[in-house]
């Protein structure tokens, strides 16, 4: 068997939810510091929302004890309902966020496409954005220069290449963004379902590129709600449910188990 490209060991991530999840101001810190000081003196303390504050009711586990090994050249599909932890798993593996439990080892250059057009600047021209976006996605300068014509042709924006992208139509913008992403050639490709946007033709182009990546011996991690795509592109699939890995195996088996569960949940509601 080929070498291991990705090894995830008991990966877990908990997030804090509640009123202070997003931002906090210095005033909040001081106020909360004072509040927790008071709390020791007199309990219970009421939060602004009116509920009783507690230290550990505000944590939610989005990923819990997920382990798997991915060998070089394997294409792994990740399925699951919204909020099952799929995107969090991809974010951890692409090092955007850290796990709070467990660890993962990754061998090789990782290219993460969690969104197309990351870092596109509206004031810059198509040409400039190709260079910038390519660099953000992890391409080398020489690589971008070499693939430049191909990217422009793929996007079909030759005439507008020196126009600021803020003047592009939504479709042109999406095509250019996707064209850059499609020419990324890392050892390990991590793709989120957000790629599946645009019209039917665009989607087909996207799927073809994914197929190329999967068959060219690259290691692929692919999140999608499109079960047919998972079955045709991937050599293996895992199913996440509330942060836990429910099944790991041949895509057809995993998707059918996932579907069976979804139907039974639906049945319970009827």
């Amino acid at each position: 068997m080929s070498d291991v490209a990705v090894r995830a060991v008991k990966l877990g991530k908990i997030y804090r939810i509640g009123e202070r999840q997003a931002y906090q101001t210095i005033r909040d810190v001081i106020a909360n510091g004072a509040r927790s000081g008071l709390r020791r003196a007199s309990q219970p303390v009421r939060t602004r929302a009116g509920g009783v504050a507690s230290r550990d009711d505000q944590w939610v586990s989005v990923l819990d004890d997920v382990s798997f090994e991915l060998h070089e050249g394997e294409a792994l599909g990740v399925i699951g309902r919204n909020g099952a932890g799929k995107s969090t798993l991809l974010k951890i593996l692409s090092r955007i966020t850290e796990p709070t439990k467990g660890h993962a080892t990754i061998v090789g250059r990782v290219g993460a496409l969690l969104e197309v057009g990351t870092g596109f600047h509206p004031e810059l021209t198509g040409r400039e954005n190709i260079a910038l976006n390519g660099a953000i996605l992890g391409m080398r300068r020489a690589e971008i220069a070499r693939k430049f014509d191909e990217i422009v042709a793929f996007a079909g924006v030759e005439r507008f290449i020196d126009t600021p992208v803020k003047r592009y139509s939504t479709g042109m913008h999406a095509r250019l963004a996707f064209a850059v992403a499609a020419h990324l050639e890392p050892d390990i490709l991590i793709v989120d379902e957000v790629l599946a946007v645009g019209d039917a033709e665009f989607q087909k182009k996207c799927m073809n590129k994914m197929g190329d990546a999967a068959t060219s011996g690259r290691t692929v991690l692919f999140v999608s709600h499109n079960l047919a795509a998972i079955e045709s592109l991937c050599s293996r699939a895992i199913w996440l449910e509330r942060g836990r890995c429910m099944a790991d195996g041949v895509p057809a088996d995993v998707t059918s188990r996932y579907l069976a569960m979804s139907l039974s949940v639906l049945g319970d509601h009827l």
Partner: protein, 279 residues
Amino acid sequence: MDQTSPARRAITVQQSTGWVSVQPRELWDYRELFFFLTWRDIKVRYKQTALGAAWAVLQPFLTMVVFSLFFGGLAGISSGSVPYPVFAFAGLVPWTFFATAVALAANSLVEQERILAKVYFPRLIVPTAAVLAGLVDFAIAFVVLLGMMLVYGIVPSAAILTLPLFVAFAVLTALAVSLWLSALNVLYRDVRYAIPFMVQMWLFVSPVAYPSSLVPEPWDAVYGINPMVGVIEGFRWALLGQSEPSGPMLAVSALMVAVLLVGGLLYFRRMERSFADVV
């Protein structure tokens, strides 16, 4: 790809705890992205402005005119043997660099939250690129300063050889302050509102409109706690060749920058892991 190539290294992702090192090797791996982000910040700077890069000169120049009128003229602040306008402008050039670099860099992480949430790279690149992009404005204003020296017939002394040192000093000061503010800004949006006020106050406590010689002898070293004192006095002396800054003052300023920079790097690296979750 061969086994020794840096990209082929095995990477372990796990929760980091406490203080983490700066990892210069990884920064080096991302040098091209650093180059592109700096280039973008320069490129985008004056897009769709009528005056374009003239803004780089207008701001310090008009400030110099106002300073000359009120501080040099009406208040009669002495600028030694150098005409007051040149004196003020020589202080405003490094000051304007510092003020704009800090204002841009401090907001850089927050403004690029989308990238932070979708792509991994060493986050240190973002504020550093914003600071370095400010050097273009600095260079333009510097040429105008040389022109003014020519008009007033000021010939630089041998001290001009130390100029690159003081420019580097200015960059490091801006970077040190920016690391703290940009990381704090991710957690506390108060920073965004505090910056214009902070920069304004900082101008008054820096020797831009007045010479640091106004501060009496034993206190000039204390005055050096503001690192911009060392930067501005050093820059002015290197160019205009008069009123050499006192040794203790420069030393205190340099020490302050070193402390701020190392502390800023450590703090930034410590907070970096939560940026994508919090921003």
